[in-house]
């Protein structure tokens, strides 16, 4: 369910005051999205659930530290969730254990590359969509593979069949271009 930024902000503020009901509402409104973030990165339901729990415990404790400079509430919550998921990826060396689902990753990664534009249809059109679509396919796919799937440069290399140096420069140049577009 899409929630307005204002509503999320009210719940987060109440959460920072110790209001459990507001926190429950915040969870109800946002957990579906954050769980998807976890699943995309971790590929394992149990780890995704662990990370989601960690994220919301942190959100409860840190609600008072949120301020607008950190972006909107959802941006802030996604950041908390993603960093926790990335930590877990690192600590459990998930990539080494994913071999059995390699095919699945490839399938989904391809699907994501295709659905970049489609996703824009199911949500409010944001500038990011426009800017992403301006990028070359190589740049866009590299960024998406890193962002959604947590793939390293090396893994993106394996996925796309290009040299490591190219992947690094794709991401770098792609993001410079992205920034220029977003700031225009």
């Amino acid at each position: 369910m899409e929630q307005s930024q204002q509503q999320l902000l009210q719940w987060l503020y109440a959460t920072s005051q110790g209001n459990k009901e507001a926190f429950a509402n915040l969870y109800k409104a946002t957990s579906g999205k954050l769980f998807s973030v976890c699943i995309q990165l971790l590929r394992r339901n149990d780890w995704a659930e662990d990370v989601l729990q960690d994220a919301y415990v942190k959100i409860w404790h840190n609600a008072g530290e949120y301020h607008a400079d950190k972006g909107n509430v959802m941006t802030w919550m996604i950041s908390i969730t993603r960093y926790r998921a990335l930590d877990l990826l690192k600590s459990r060396r998930v990539k080494l254990e994913q071999t059995d689902s390699e095919a699945q990753i490839n399938d989904q990664a391809s699907a994501e590359a295709l659905t970049g534009e489609q996703l824009g249809l199911v949500r409010e059109k944001v500038k990011l969509d426009d800017c992403m679509s301006v990028l070359s396919e190589d740049h866009r796919i590299s960024i998406q593979l890193a962002y959604f799937n947590g793939l390293s440069h090396q893994e993106i290399t394996e996925h796309t069949g290009t040299a490591l140096g190219s992947v690094k420069s794709w991401i770098r140049r792609g993001l410079v271009q992205l920034k220029r577009c977003l700031e225009s």
Binding site: A24, K33, S36, L52, G71, T75, W76, R82, A146, I171
Partner: protein, 225 residues
């Protein structure tokens, strides 16, 4: 200092968000985040740029155990309820959980062929005084409040069923403090095996959450006869 180079900061911030900044470089950037406000602002800016990507993902509903686990970790739940294991005849947490009370629930399971399907639960306190008598017919619960109840004007007692699979308690409604009342097992829960019943002390109107928010006064295993 090279970190004053905004282009480099942008690059590091993005690699940090993507997770492609690793090892010592990642740690150096984390240190920089603590000491440099410009670095923090750069990171926040890129989070705002990139995280809408994640907002575009379709929602995936997490299992109910996640919310339960969060509340447990925040200390909102009585651990004893969460850790409840119905098959054990003696449970070490029981005394701690029950505090000054003891709950005894006796369930009489009928023969499936019996024309009148009936289960009965008697809830008693530590002095073996019955507080409620629960008569179960199908999914209907007829609850009779007995004289031993300590009345609470500003609170309600809420009845919960604890599923055997360890999933969160399911509310069966508010218990009457006098007279009797009919409660209904939610349709969605009618096929769930009940491990035990629990009674919690809640604000007027019942728990604002989907699980007990107040003190769990009584928890007990079910004795099947």
């Amino acid at each position: 200092m090279k970190y004053e180079n905004q282009e480099l900061l942008d690059h590091l911030a993005v690699e940090y968000i993507l997770g492609t900044l690793k090892g010592a470089a990642r740690k150096r950037f984390q240190k920089l985040l603590i000491s440099s406000s410009n670095t923090r602002k750069t990171l926040w800016l890129w989070e705002q740029y990139l995280n809408p990507l994640a907002e575009s993902l379709p929602e995936t509903e997490p299992g109910t155990a996640v919310w339960h686990g969060i509340q447990k970790r925040l200390g909102w739940l009585d651990d004893t309820v969460v850790a409840f294991t119905p098959r054990k005849p003696k449970l070490p947490w029981f005394i701690a959980a029950a505090a000054s009370f003891l709950l005894l629930v006796i369930l009489y399971l009928p023969q499936t062929t019996a024309p009148a399907f009936q289960e009965v639960a008697v809830i008693q306190n530590a002095e073996a005084k019955a507080w409620w008598l629960i008569n179960k017919t199908g999914d209907a619960l007829q609850v009779k409040a007995l004289d031993a109840i300590t009345p609470k004007q500003d609170n309600d007692y809420e009845l919960w069923m604890l599923p055997t699979d360890g999933s969160p308690p399911i509310s069966l409604g508010l218990l009457p403090q006098t007279s009797q009342k009919n409660l209904q097992i939610p349709a969605a829960a009618s096929n769930i095996t009940i491990a035990a019943l629990a009674v919690s002390l809640e604000p007027k109107g019942g728990s604002p959450l989907t699980i007990p928010s107040g003190e769990v006064l009584f928890v007990a295993e079910i004795i099947t006869l």
